[in-house]
Symmetry: D2
Subunit: 485 residues, 4 copies
């Protein structure tokens, strides 16, 4: 089977994007537009829940926003001035519709919908306890744990019950919650996952990235703060911070790869940070070459930075097809290893006889890098140098990012020489961890209280990891998924 | 309705791509890969016909190659060592499956399959005469005319009947024909549409562009010559040239926009010609600016050329979404004019306060240019200069390219000043027609016998246009399509 | 819209049929066959759950058993030696897949699947209390109440928790439950809904009707007794009766219409009881006529009984089409009132000039009777006499039968004369309630402790009706259904 | 695989039913209703063509009329006051949509649509000649031959061309043709296949059976005569008879099985002819028994006739399920031979210990008879006597009826004793060929010029059989079908 599936490429994948609107007519249509702009954060499934003042309405679908939520009948089935939505990329392989968010439940207080970006690192332990007391779970999603904690909380008001639930969970979460009383947006105390607030006329908007504000024409107001709950009732906004204050640790990989280059996260333009990393790479790891070639499309900004810093011309040496499909039949030996060519093809006329510097954002398993180096050689490149715009990825993420098990991370298995050999490059360099912090305006990474969550590079996890420590939570959820089939 | 459909953008569209394989096991799988690489030449429908030595097998589908021809069951239903295929973009709006190629008929000589890129400019006149004599047409395609001419020819051998048919048709055609005796590939006497030949081991391959050879790992051998018939029987190849020799006139728009940048057409790399055009533009129409910004993705090579020539930095000022859909509901006035943002979003952090040069490959109606200039201004650009890497498009194409009627071509209605006003740019320039020929290595366009068909820019059509002269052929085919529904 | 939908005809409809198998390879395939034989008890949706010793597997689908559960891939996805299934006809109009049974939950004790025929008449009150304590419902089905009662019960063993749940519910239920420990089949203390037990080799089978045993080639063993729990673990069978003993009150309408004529319920052959009712009708309401004509197909056995008792020949005066569809467009006035003809057509050659006795099993709204009398007259019948093989249906059912609200029951609105006029018959008679009991071998209906539940005829409900007394439960469930959409 | 497919039962199958309407608004909706009433004549596919005064519109679909032509959007896509339709059951197994009728072609004279019931017995010879002259066939249907004969005829008017075509074809045909000038209905010179004419207000209607007139509320006018062309232009009707007059030979199997019991063919009520056959059987083959049991549903009228003549009571000993599906998985040995039970189940309570006479309309392969006799025995019948309401079926039909090859016809292989043994009956009798003619009001079958086509019983074919004589036409068409795939 030959594949052109963009999901199969060698990247870490964000699991989710979320988007919410309060106090706008046609709220669901805005959510659809916003989710479309966040599609890169999750391509597996999407869902929207709206509230029309009396009833909640939900539509969920496997697949992309476009094709599912660009249909008149679907949007008309989601009336109301309040709505939120979710795009999803699953970690566990459990792709059933029942796990597609927003999740919804009828509580005594009325309807309760929730959209979650992140991962709760003690979900399995909480679930076991809830089931023991008689709660019945509908999904294998860690997010459902929050709903049952709210349903069974001894507090009286919905808000108190919700805070009670949040205090019991650990891990990373950006949440948008809808109740008959309004919308609540919040971020975990460390602000690991991003969430921004915008305005469109009188409407209040929450989104994982500013690009989703741009697409609906909304104005960026501010980030939701780590540990903050923003409570919206119509156009009225209230903020509370029920947690003890901690120094934030936003995920640094948002700048490396997750966010779109046209987004601005915590006052840093993604595009310019990536160019900075590229320039830093040119300083840290220069090379004598004829062409700087980005691995499309995520390597482009860093490649421009590298080219501008080094003076080597930036050229399109790899052409990416716009037309992707899942798999193609492999007709015997003649067309072995065609997979990568369906998506990427070398620009032979340009490359022949040239010394090229390839710029990519990261290496996970190394399989794509190997194929691309090979493609350059087959096209006649004289030398192939690989430069990576992030430090080596050596550790799994437990905060809502799809990481392969450690044993599959190239940088966890091999040293730089081994990796260079593995991908058959003439040379290979990664930007340093301090270089990465420099691209973000810091002088270096502070060993105590670094400004970002960089656990995938450093192994320094900012929260406890209850399920992981107890046993393999992933395995438990996989088992659950199978049993609930 | 808001749209992100790439078909709706402001470009001329190639109608078709064709691909054929002889003497390879799993021929249909190779055709599927080749068609996928030619998908940019036609996204509406695709089809493959194979011949297993006894039977012909055909599968046709609306939509992309991926999703239809990457399925095991489909490929298994197309056995044999000879196969050809077609991707289609329709001009007339008649999108019925019966028009999807390869077309197939049972003649007295046995099966006959045909895939056609181009347009027959006397098809309607020939059809009327054939119907008068008792031929029954199954489709509204001009290509079917060829089949009936073959079926009713008085010549004895299939090859003579086929040449007899070709001598009666006028216009542009690159054809791949399959009969029980083998495959015939041919190009019209002027070679208006492209067709190349390659080898993969012992297998012979024909394709509209070299990129399709790359994808299957085949070696480029040569172009099929204008007016040449290449006859393949297994691995045996024979060439005949039944027409009087004429100076060729290949379509110049292949270099401007149609072909993929990684293809090589008639010894000219598409990518380097486009960079040359960009450089030529920088010479012909310089501007004092801070950033050179391509309109993605087709404007990128010319923008690199413009930036390298002018020394102004190349930057990604417009981010293109990878996720496209057909239409999104427009939720009232608040989100008016969102269409373009779903596909393209301004990189605000970069553009604010800057003087930008936008580079695009062509302007057809001007609607997209207007939106993109506006997007730059809304993102805070200080000045917006538009540079176009082709001359003004002023005339319709009758050779298999989807052109709007002349009245809708911006350059047919307005002069340069009018166009600049229409798109609200600070300045606008097109490369000159001689500049375009220079980018292709000529000193200028020869008034007598120019080397290319450039009728869309000059109105100088290299063939007679029988149907067009008699009446509106398009109208007649539209009527036919309706009546056959 | 003209309809030939058999669901739209003028009958009360059984809501469900259930079928379970323990200790047979390919259990799910047997369940599919059994459900197919019970299809007349519920045509809206079907589901099967199997247990393979480790995992539970469920497949649910809207529509018939055939078309959904006759597919290899579906049956292969339901492995294991224990399985149960359900066919459903909904009362509330809430046709979502989440209400299709078997319902399934992961309890602390492991998986728990339940299939239910009947209706719980205090489900709404129980549900309110469960939600107040933090239970989250997934469906609007009354059956889910049982699962939450089990999940939150304070008893220790699953069996004690299940009995605890049953003791809290009131109404009618025949249940098949699957747990990792085996299968439990039970009937409510009055045995309102039927449930029989059979053997196929070593396998134990439960089914709503004996016809489902016939179809799988199983031997009928006995009915599950009212108030009995039959607990099966592999081939081992245990019976317990946790309720206080009461005289049974099985639903009499099973003989009138619900069960198939080839089933045997409580030692009475359905076919012969229906013939007896027909003969009784001929005695109670004789008429001088030429032909006895059944309303197909449910009126046939009673018509044979009537013909044999009266000596008037039995003839097929109405031909029923085997091909039914949902709706046909009505092309203007010319073809008004065609609905009934699509399903039923008069045998004109037979009827012309004859005095006919029509035999039908029951009248609910009277709409079909009116059309059939009219059809007889249009076909030239000299006289049309209607005889009904049940007493007038005057009361709603709250035990799992879809009854229109009382105001729509013809017999609740009009006396015999009024009904005769309404359907335009020359005469109309119903069998008497005592006549009905006679057909079942009783001398008459005992006023105290009658042997059957005949509430639809008499209004004498054998259980309390908590939800109904508190308010309109139907309305509450309808509201729920809307809110959960 | 267990099957309940009604197509798999042991019957000859009519290939087609046709229906046409002229001069009625909403013509297509009437055609849909008419085709639904003719569904028993062909369940594989259906099609409707309408003409709105300017354009022809066609919709074809695999499957039943209901489900395809009861949809608003489909009927709205078929505007106009003239329409015709077709239901199809294929003989060759070639079930492609391109063979679904009405077939349509654009001739020089304009649109031409044709719906055909019957079979052209020299279609293959004609087709070879047409292809030789350059005609290109779109389908493997014999009907398309007629269209090409019309298209290539040397006559001037469409009517003359059509008659020219009819004079070249041999075999059986009832045709409805639509042209821009109106509708033509015709029957072959022997009138082998039926066709009747009716009126609905001013509208003219043609149908294969009167039951289709009943369903739309139309009045029966007369049969189209053998060899007659009825030409309708709006409400205006003209009749011509271009063929030499011959004594008609309508297909006798219409009374035995094909037509619905509520139809009247050539002044004989199907129902009463079938009762007559049953009575004749009781005279020719009496038996001492307790119950007369029809094989449902086609055996019912003959069983009523047998019961009334013999005085033995008519009873429903076999219950037929209304819910049919294609196939069920067979779960091992335990449920072997379940096929027949899914559709038919024995009424055990009735049959046990009784001597039964089973009445069926015909025996083709004998497989169903064997299963039904066995089912009676397993239900405890003391004796099982089979009586068949037609003579032994010994010969293939070449006139549009799906017959197995002769080698599979039970009566072509075995004598009466052998057949009795094969089906394990205590006795078996068929009605005599003279008895069959008696039931139709004749004294006996005339050896010279019998009044009906009874070739399936007698081998006396009323036309020449060119293709059959030349070679196996069925094989040639099968080959064609494969090659055109």
């Amino acid at each position: 089977m030959l594949t052109t599936n963009p999901f199969d490429d060698d990247h870490l994948h964000e699991e989710c994007g979320i988007f919410g609107v309060s106090a706008s007519e046609g709220a669901a249509a805005l959510v659809a537009l916003g989710l479309h702009a966040l599609q890169h954060r999750g391509q597996e499934a999407a869902g929207i829940t709206s509230f029309d003042g009396a009833m909640f309405h939900t539509h969920r679908a496997m697949g992309h926003v476009a094709g599912n939520f660009d249909r008149d009948d679907v949007i008309r089935s989601l009336p109301g001035e309040v709505a939120c939505g979710h795009v999803r990329y699953s970690t566990t392989g459990e792709t059933a519709l029942r796990n597609v968010q927003p999740l919804y439940a009828e509580l005594q207080s009325g309807g309760f919908a929730i959209a979650h970006n992140g991962n709760i690192s003690n979900a399995m332990r909480l679930r076991r306890e809830l089931v023991r007391r008689g709660s019945i779970f509908q999904s294998t999603s860690d997010t459902e744990t929050i709903i049952h904690l709210v349903a069974t909380s001894q507090y009286r008001t919905l808000l108190d019950r919700f805070i009670d639930a949040l205090k019991q969970i650990e891990g990373a979460y950006a949440l948008i919650v809808m109740t008959p009383d309004g919308m609540i947006a919040c971020r975990d105390p460390l602000g690991i996952r991003p969430l921004v607030m915008g305005k469109l006329g009188d409407a209040v908007i929450f989104a994982s990235e500013t690009v989703a504000l741009d697409v609906v024409g909304a104005e960026f107001v501010r980030s939701v703060e780590p540990g903050e709950l923003v409570i919206v009732r119509g156009e009225e906004i209230r903020s509370i911070t029920p947690f003890e204050k901690q120094p934030p640790r936003p995920c640094i990989f948002e700048w490396v790869y997750f966010s779109r280059p046209d987004s601005i996260v915590d006052d840093h333009s993604i595009y310019s940070v990536r160019k900075n990393i590229g320039a830093q790479l040119a300083i840290e790891a220069p090379v004598d070459a004829d062409l700087v070639i980005p691995v499309p499309d995520s390597g482009v900004p860093a490649a421009i930075g590298y080219a501008q810093q080094s003076g080597i011309p930036f050229e399109l040496g790899i052409i990416r097809s716009h037309y992707v499909g899942r798999t193609f039949i492999q007709p015997g030996d003649k067309v072995r290893h065609l997979g990568v060519k369906l998506k990427h093809n070398a620009n032979r006329a340009l490359i022949k006889g040239k010394r090229v510097v390839l710029i990519d954002d990261s290496i996970v398993r190394g399989t794509t890098s190997l194929k691309i180096v090979q493609m350059m050689r087959e096209a006649g490149a004289a030398e192939v140098h690989m430069r990576i715009a992030s430090p080596p990825t050596r550790h799994s993420c437990f905060y809502g990012v799809d990481t392969p098990e450690r044993a599959k991370l190239l940088a966890a298995k091999l040293d730089l020489g081994g990796m260079t050999d593995f991908i058959h490059a003439d040379s290979l360099s990664f930007v340093s961890i301090d270089g990465l912090y420099k691209a973000l305006g810091e002088s270096h990474r502070a060993d105590i209280r670094p400004k970002y969550c960089d656990a995938c590079f450093t192994g320094d996890y900012p929260t406890s990891l209850t399920d992981h420590d107890e046993s393999s939570a992933v395995d438990q959820f996989a088992l659950l998924a199978e049993r609930m089939n």
